[in-house]
Amino acid sequence: MHISRISRDGSRRVWGPVWLGTALVLLGASAFWFAGDIGRTGTGGGNDPGPRFFPVLLSLMLVIFGLLQAVIGVLRGSDAGSAAAQAPGVPCDAAPPSRRWLVMLAVLVVYVIAMDWIGFSASTFLMAVGLMIWLGNRWWVAVVVAVLMVAVVRLLFVVLFRVQLPAGELGFPF
């Protein structure tokens, strides 16, 4: 993922490190906040710094690292941007960021939710067919491969390893 934006002067600023830093600061701050809910009592003894100590220490370190990352990102981003603007022959729209992974993520979220409803086999078949067609396979190849995939997984996990795969609330027999 290459998060960048073209500014008014035509230079391209790279925002990835800033976003990463901000996300880490937020994560660290949240962890610090919720560490307040961790009970003080324990069986460790009087000299035990307690169960809150380590999470608080780590969440503060994350905040510091996040801030550092964001500051470095702002400084380097502007440098990279001006360098890119000065460099001859560097197209502003080079390497456009791909959003295909977000589509893939949406497919997987729907797949996992569907698994709870229609069970493992049906949801896996539908997901595999959809994904393979989206990635450029012919529909009949996708169907055959998806059937084989579900069959192999069932043979391996259900028949051999006796794993109970999700049947789904609708109670499909497969």
Binding site: N47, W101, M149
Partner: protein, 495 residues
């Protein structure tokens, strides 16, 4: 030994190695991913078969990465990057089959030497490690984490950040010292903490899929150098005999580098390649298809896999991400890594070493088949491979505890892994943080309890002092020396 050759062990073992060949030879899929995907399957087998499967995959995937490195100039795994230089040049000269046969034999020999060193060194080191108390173990874990952050790809700050994130994640669940729940938000599945395997599968399996779908897919057949050659086994044996010292030296170097926390098979391969180039009479010809340029990195990368087990087994500090998964798997088999491992799990250790040795022999069979089958691997559309990875990631995570919660965790960490890697944040320190976090915390807290709250014992024992000095040297001494050296050079240039 007889138990290892039983069909109930041998069949999954060989199947695991075939899987390792497939994943390792597919460009973009890593050895770490192969091991992460095989672990949930291995838990459903008897312990010896499960361990054999995991060990088989970890060694085979590293070798298999050399196959596309030679024919396509694309390393199958990062550990094969150094093998690209001379291996692909040999393939362009029509000697690709010879390069791969050399790769295979050197990988097997490197693995054998690495495992032999492991068997010799690990028990001696364990005897020494028996002197370690909470204070030494605390610094050892901190040292392992710091070193992994230092040598990982990307900046050291990002490595340390990943290690902190991993340690913070390890605090989720019931605190083992006080029994108090932390970050559980009233959720029952969160009480037992985040399971290590779904996180691994997400970080190294699903994130790869996200990365692959973000760029054009297809087959790689067009880029392949011609493969219509028979495998010149005898010629390869003759060449290896001529290069026996190079093989031995590279394997030893690979084992030593592999044993350093954070320095995996990729760094070992580059280290051995550089050493071979410096010591060879044909150093200037390296990169043009020189035999030593193939022999050195391929001996070292498999030896490093064995080397990484030394600190993992003896100290519980894994050397790289692959070993971290193996370590996590060992814990699930009730093998507790640490100085007492040879007393408490002596029998299991013996079978583990026997498996590791026999794997090097089986590697020859699986490897020859893999080289022959590479054409079929190239013909397989990547869209099908990626879909299969998604399905096995989901079912593998679910099958651990028969819980969709683990699937959700895997999915979340797939996204986290993809986003972090897109910002060049190394994932290995995160995993090491997740594994070593409890070791750091427990030893710090129990150490403080036993010292009546005093930090002094953390610095006064000789081993602690050495570890602290090494840490200071790494993080203060080395950068300071670098700055001074640069300044001196600049002054000289101006002068």
């Amino acid at each position: 030994m007889g138990a290892l050759l039983h069909h109930s062990v041998l069949i999954p073992w060989l199947l695991g190695m075939v899987f390792g060949i497939f994943v390792g030879a597919t460009p973009g899929l890593t050895a770490t991913m192969a091991v992460a995907l095989i672990v949930p399957i291995s838990f459903h087998l008897e312990p010896t078969a499960g361990l054999a499967m995991i060990v088989g995959v970890s060694f085979t995937a590293i070798f298999a990465g050399d196959i596309p490195a030679t024919y396509l100039r694309i390393p199958g795994t990062p550990a094969s990057a150094a093998a690209v230089l001379d291996g692909h040049e040999m393939a362009k000269q029509g000697r690709g089959a010879l390069a791969l046969t050399l790769d295979l034999f050197c990988s097997s020999l490197g693995g054998l030497i690495g495992v032999a060193l492991l068997i010799t060194v690990a028990p001696l080191l364990a005897q020494f490690a028996l002197q370690f108390s909470f204070y030494e173990r605390f610094w050892l874990a901190v040292f392992g984490l710091s070193l992994s952050a230092l040598v990982s790809a990307g900046s050291t700050t990002k490595g340390l950040m990943a290690a902190c994130l991993g340690m913070l994640l390890s605090t989720i669940g019931i605190d083992v010292v006080s029994g108090v729940p932390r970050y559980t938000f009233g959720s029952i599945p969160m009480m037992r903490g985040l399971d290590f395997i779904p996180i691994m599968i997400g970080l190294f399996g699903l994130s790869e899929v996200f990365r692959h779908v973000s760029r054009p897919l297809g087959t790689l057949r067009e880029q392949a150098v011609s493969r219509r050659e028979s495998l010149p086994v005898l010629e390869a044996c003759r060449m290896i005999w001529q290069q026996k010292f190079c093989v031995l030296r590279s394997s030893v170097v690979g084992t030593i580098i592999g044993a350093l926390p954070g320095a995996g098979a990729d760094i070992a391969a580059w280290g051995a390649y550089g050493l071979a180039q410096k010591t060879s009479r044909r150093g200037s010809q390296f990169g043009t298809g020189v035999v030593e340029g193939v022999v050195a990195p391929t001996s070292a990368n498999n030896a490093a896999v064995a080397g990484a087990w030394i600190p993992a087994l003896v100290f519980g500090v894994p050397g790289d991400a692959v070993t971290a998964i193996v370590l996590g798997a060992l814990m699930m088999y009730d093998i507790k890594p640490g100085p007492n491992i040879f007393e408490e799990s002596g029998e299991q250790m013996q079978s583990l070493f026997a498996v590791a040795l026999l794997t090097q022999v089986l590697l020859l069979i699986a490897g020859l088949a893999g080289i022959k089958a590479f054409g079929a691997i190239l013909r397989l559309p990547r869209s099908i491979v990626l879909t299969a990875v998604v399905v096995f990631s989901v079912v593998g995570s679910y099958a651990l505890n028969n819980s969709l919660f683990d699937v959700h965790v895997m999915l979340i960490f797939g996204v986290v892994g993809y986003l972090l890697e897109s910002q060049r944040v190394p994932l290995a320190p995160l995993i090491l943080g997740l594994i070593l976090g409890p070791m750091v915390e427990e030893n710090l807290r129990v150490g403080l309890i036993s010292s009546d709250g005093s930090f002094a014992p953390f610095f006064t024992s000789p081993i602690c002092a050495v570890l602290v000095a090494l840490l200071l040297l790494t993080y203060v001494g080395l950068p300071a020396t670098r700055v001074l050296w640069r300044r001196t050079r600049r002054i000289r240039r101006v002068g």
